[in-house]
């Protein structure tokens, strides 16, 4: 019987929620990672390891790893640093992805690190030097936090040297030579603000790929939901039909190239679900139309926020969908989002939800 394991990264550590293939009854374990803030926890299907990107206000940034589904954990930050002379710091690891026998870590300030020894040691792969406007990314006068982050990498399933990186407020970059060179991939995206460079200045919140069509990319942007049918060479907006153009999270159906999930949020300061009505929205036609999925979710007074890594879709024949909120709830659907139940109610603020089917 397969085990279904949700990895939940929170403000106070990593938690695991575990069920069987029915995905009805869930058992919570944690907190792990010594309750450090965990921004993204992922499962490497090939090795079975869990990796959790964390940053302690006291003890700095690092990546926790567990090779026994959370029973024991080790922390490493060896190599997760920029040259001291440059003055650039790694304030946190924002995103992780495991593919092709290595782990990639996206850092703030912006850079990609890799580990080829299961997270024991790390080395800098790229800081995207030379890209348009790159010198402005760490300028506190232009970036109020002092620097921008690189929160996500999307690996190509077949080509280890090819992946996409997302830089906050700048956009998507593609490399086909393992980070030696990069090309902006933002053509056709919308931006409602002035931009100095034609190819960049876009606010990509979450980028996903269809597991069954590697040309089909999908993204929740600061302004709108967008689809690409040519692996990011060009983008088409598909926001119409959603209650808000703003949101952070997005997910792809594991078996249907036209089905995606997003969680629209109010785009002003609140950034919670519109009118306090919790819902996930699904398209089954690549964004032409959208359906509100809210059966079992709170219908009023639910001012829930969901961050960019806060939604996950599993790989069963009838896939389950999951999301975690900034107020510590985790909701699960075992029927592609048709109906939902609350499977954790009182966690710390949730930053990320990923799902693994193991055994």
């Amino acid at each position: 019987m397969p085990r279904t394991v949700l990895l939940v990264g929170t403000r106070k550590g990593c938690f695991l929620l575990e069920s069987d293939a029915d995905r009805r009854a869930w058992k919570l374990r944690g907190p792990y990672c010594e309750a450090w803030p965990v921004y993204h926890a992922v499962h490497d299907r090939a090795s079975g390891a869990i990796y959790a990107a964390a940053a302690s206000e006291w003890h700095g940034a690092g990546v926790w790893r567990s090779t026994d589904l959370g029973e024991t954990w080790e922390l490493s930050s060896e190599g997760l640093a920029y040259d001291a002379e440059g003055g650039t710091k790694v304030s946190k690891i924002s995103g992780l992805t495991a593919a092709h026998g290595r782990v990639l870590a996206g850092a703030e300030s912006a850079g990609v690190f890799e580990s080829r020894d299961g997270g024991a040691t790390w080395s800098l792969l790229s800081t995207l030097e030379g890209q348009p406007g790159r010198s402005d990314w760490n300028d506190p006068a232009l970036q109020p936090p002092g620097h921008l982050g690189l929160p996500a990498m999307l690996p190509h399933p077949d080509d280890p040297a090819r992946f996409w990186a997302v830089v906050q407020g700048i956009g998507i970059f593609e490399t086909t030579d393992d980070g030696a060179s990069w090309t902006p991939r933002n053509r056709g995206l919308r931006a409602d603000w002035p931009r100095e460079h034609e190819e960049i200045g876009f606010c990509v919140h979450k980028l996903v790929m269809s597991p069954v069509d590697h040309e089909r990319l999908f993204q929740q942007n600061h302004v709108g939901v967008h689809r690409s049918d040519d692996a990011g060479l060009s983008w088409t907006e598909v926001t119409e039909g959603l209650p808000s153009e703003f949101g952070f999270a997005a997910g792809a159906h594991p078996h249907d190239r036209d089905t995606y999930y997003v969680i629209p949020l109010d785009g002003a300061h609140g950034r919670t679900m519109p009118e306090g009505h919790a819902a996930v929205w699904r398209t089954r036609d690549a964004g032409a139309t959208w359906q509100r999925l809210d059966r079992g979710l709170p219908q009023h007074d639910a001012h829930l926020g969901v961050l960019r890594e806060g939604l996950a879709v599993d790989t069963y024949d009838v896939p389950g969908v999951y999301f975690g909120t900034s107020t510590g709830q985790v909701f699960a659907s075992a029927d592609e989002g048709e109906s939902w139940s609350e499977i954790a109610s009182y966690l710390p603020a949730v930053a990320s939800v990923e799902v693994a089917v193991v055994g």
């Binding site: 010594e34 700095g60 710091k89």
Partner: protein, 87 residues
């Protein structure tokens, strides 16, 4: 030998690391390097590249706020504090 007191947040990260231990070092940075030799990776938990003490790690030598190059006396007390940082 200096009398070194560590924050409790470090203990779960390094097997066998005590809350309090005696160290033979002339400066704060030597004391930290000595700990790192016994518990690899410990320096990174207290220092940023440079090295410099992390922003929310405060060190006191004999009750006075100290830096990495602060010298230690034969019987100094060194307190490493995880300073107030959020809730």
């Amino acid at each position: 030998m200096a009398d070194l007191h560590l924050p409790g947040t470090l203990l779960p990260l390094f097997a066998g690391l005590p809350r309090r231990l005696e160290v033979d070092a002339d400066t704060v940075v030597e004391a930290i390097d000595g700990l790192d030799a016994r518990w690899p990776g410990l320096r990174d938990r207290l220092c940023e590249p440079g090295p410099a003490l992390r922003r929310h790690i405060h060190v006191y030598v004999d009750g006075e706020r100290a830096a990495l190059d602060t010298t230690l006396g034969e019987r100094s007390r060194v307190d490493v504090i995880a300073a107030i940082s959020g809730g």
